[in-house]
């Protein structure tokens, strides 16, 4: 049984100013097994962070089920949900903003214990906090510090310590390294990998950076305007991307080897707005270089392309060469 199973979840928001609705997440299904990392990749407006918040029930889905350890979280009341939260944790992108600036590091890290491990007395708690701080690579005496007195990397370690202290089985990592410098990022990614191995954690790793995703995850789901367009084992999707959007995303990656230039696929124009998503048809149709009339006729569902590799594109089977040839449209903007 999967640790986390999303079944057809949707979330809409009212657009600012009351004009229309934003379909932030639209009929998304996804599963994560215990101990594995599934990456959710997409650009801004793709709905990936909203999906993360739906998993954590920081937002209520309009439709669908979020099954965690076999329980549908959407059916739980606040008290029941609180019990689940010990095993379902989160680390946010902005390390400083996600820590209460007036609480010491020790208080921040021990707070989940106070809530979830009521039986623990304060000296046991203190020992546990010290252990956890050391485990994430912080000195135990940083417990007395305020978040503002730490560097960005240290702040993110505090966030990670807070997330792991109640022995969760799943952590939602919402762009945990995006605001960090390259060398600090490498430290945090290594730490996350070590923790996963030692504690058997599963990660939902939300990111826009394909190199990071390729490095950390076993499976990947590519999101665009609220929908998953392609999902599968990370090696399959990256070696043989079948959705034009995945291909475009992959080709936007910049290799650090000056002599290696990756094949290009240019989408037309900028990312669309979730407010003007069409009722039917493929969400990528307005930007897709290989769009045909059939793409606009019906909703394009995720369909198996290869074992475990699903693609939501009616031209998924066509060769990639044809695709690249059709995308020499240059930098024109429409």
């Amino acid at each position: 049984m999967a640790l986390l199973e999303l079944e057809g979840i949707s979330k809409q928001f009212h657009a600012r100013g009351g004009k229309g609705i934003v379909r932030a997440v639209n009929d998304v299904s996804l599963s994560i097994d215990a101990g594995e990392t599934v990456a959710l990749i997409g650009e801004s407006g793709s709905g990936k962070s909203t999906l993360g918040r739906l998993v954590l029930r920081l937002l209520e889905p309009d439709q669908g089920a979020v099954r965690f350890e076999g329980i549908d979280l959407t059916k739980l009341n606040t008290k029941e949900m609180r019990e689940v939260r010990a095993r379902l944790q989160v680390v946010f992108q902005e390390p400083f903003e996600s820590l209460n600036p007036r609480m010491s590091v020790g208080d921040i890290v021990s707070e989940p214990l106070i809530i979830h491990n009521r039986a623990m007395n304060s000296s046991e708690r203190e020992i546990r906090v010290r252990e956890t701080l050391e485990r994430v690579g912080l000195r135990p005496d940083s417990a007395t510090r305020l978040p503002g007195q730490l560097s960005g990397g240290q702040q993110q370690r505090v966030g990670i310590a807070r997330a792991i202290i109640t022995n969760p089985s799943l952590i939602v990592l919402d762009e945990p390294t995006s605001s960090l410098d390259l060398s600090v990022r490498a430290q945090i990614l290594t730490l996350l990998a070590d923790l996963q191995r030692e504690l058997g954690l599963a990660y939902l790793f939300i990111s826009h950076d394909i190199s990071t995703v390729e490095y950390v995850s076993q499976r990947i789901a590519v999101m665009y305007l609220g929908e998953i367009l392609e999902t599968g084992p990370v090696t399959d999707v990256i070696k043989d991307p079948r959705h034009p959007y995945t291909r475009a995303l992959l080709s936007s990656r910049l290799s650090t080897d000056p002599n290696e230039s990756l094949p290009r696929l240019r989408l037309i124009g900028d990312i669309g707005s979730p407010t003007d998503v069409r009722e039917i048809g493929c969400v990528l149709a307005p930007r897709c270089p290989m769009v045909i009339d059939a793409c606009r006729d019906r909703k394009i569902e995720l369909e198996p392309f290869a074992p475990h590799h699903d693609v939501a594109c009616i031209r998924a089977a066509e060769t990639s060469d044809a695709l690249l040839a059709s995308s020499s449209s240059g930098i024109e903007y429409n």
Binding site: L58, R85, S98, M103, G137, Q149
Partner: protein, 290 residues
Amino acid sequence: MATSPPNDSERTKAAKPTGQFRDFVQMHPIAVGGAFFIVVLILASLFAPLPYDPELPNPEVGISPPSADHWFGTDITGADVFSRTIAAAWVDLSLALAGTLLSLAIGVPLGLATSVKRRWSDNLVRGMDAFQAFPLLILALVLVSLSGNKLYMVVVAIALINIPRYMRLIRSEVLSLREARFMEATTAMGVPLPRTLRKHVLPNVMGIITAQTTLTMANAIVVIATLSFLGIGVAPPTPSWGSMIRSGSSNMISGEWWIALFPGLFVLICVWILNQLSDAISDFNTRTTR
């Protein structure tokens, strides 16, 4: 243990969160000195032996300018202006403090409550806004005179003026705090609401409450002075700065400037100090979190 690199050398920005008061003194010596002045003033007003009985008229002396015997001169009844000014400090400041504490005690919980619940809170806020549109000083005037010049009504009046301000301030502060990422983190951790309010919301609005409280004090001093200037609230012979200014104002034209000037100066100094203190607190508050 995770094989993460030692982070001992990662840069840390400041010292430990101890000695905050010392930092505050170092950063804002004027405000701290001012606060010290007010404390001394209150203590003197309560306990110090005054040179003359502030409420005792002395017809033999009559009106006289500042001298070695009477530092601030004497008023029309011959009472010592210095003794009266100092004695008035406790009368005025205690009323101001009581009014401030009452508005704090009601305004802060109201602010917290209106920022948590939705439907009725909007109505309450709108009601309070309408209430604020009313000339509140006049309301205070009416209330105090209707009560037959009861001093507790002065306190109530000050509270009425300031409760909506507290409520609005706290509400807007908490509403923006709710958008903070760490508040989302508390939800994700399952922190219960009372604990969220106590541990996450209050400490983060404490600074702004303190800053606002000193401002309220300043405002209350002005309100009390205004009321007693108009002959309401503290009535002579009990000394109060407002009534002293009032009684001295008629003498200004004829040249006896000292009767109104000294109490006026004390109002000015107290209000100025409290404003300085408020600025200093909000400045310190923003600096310590970053």
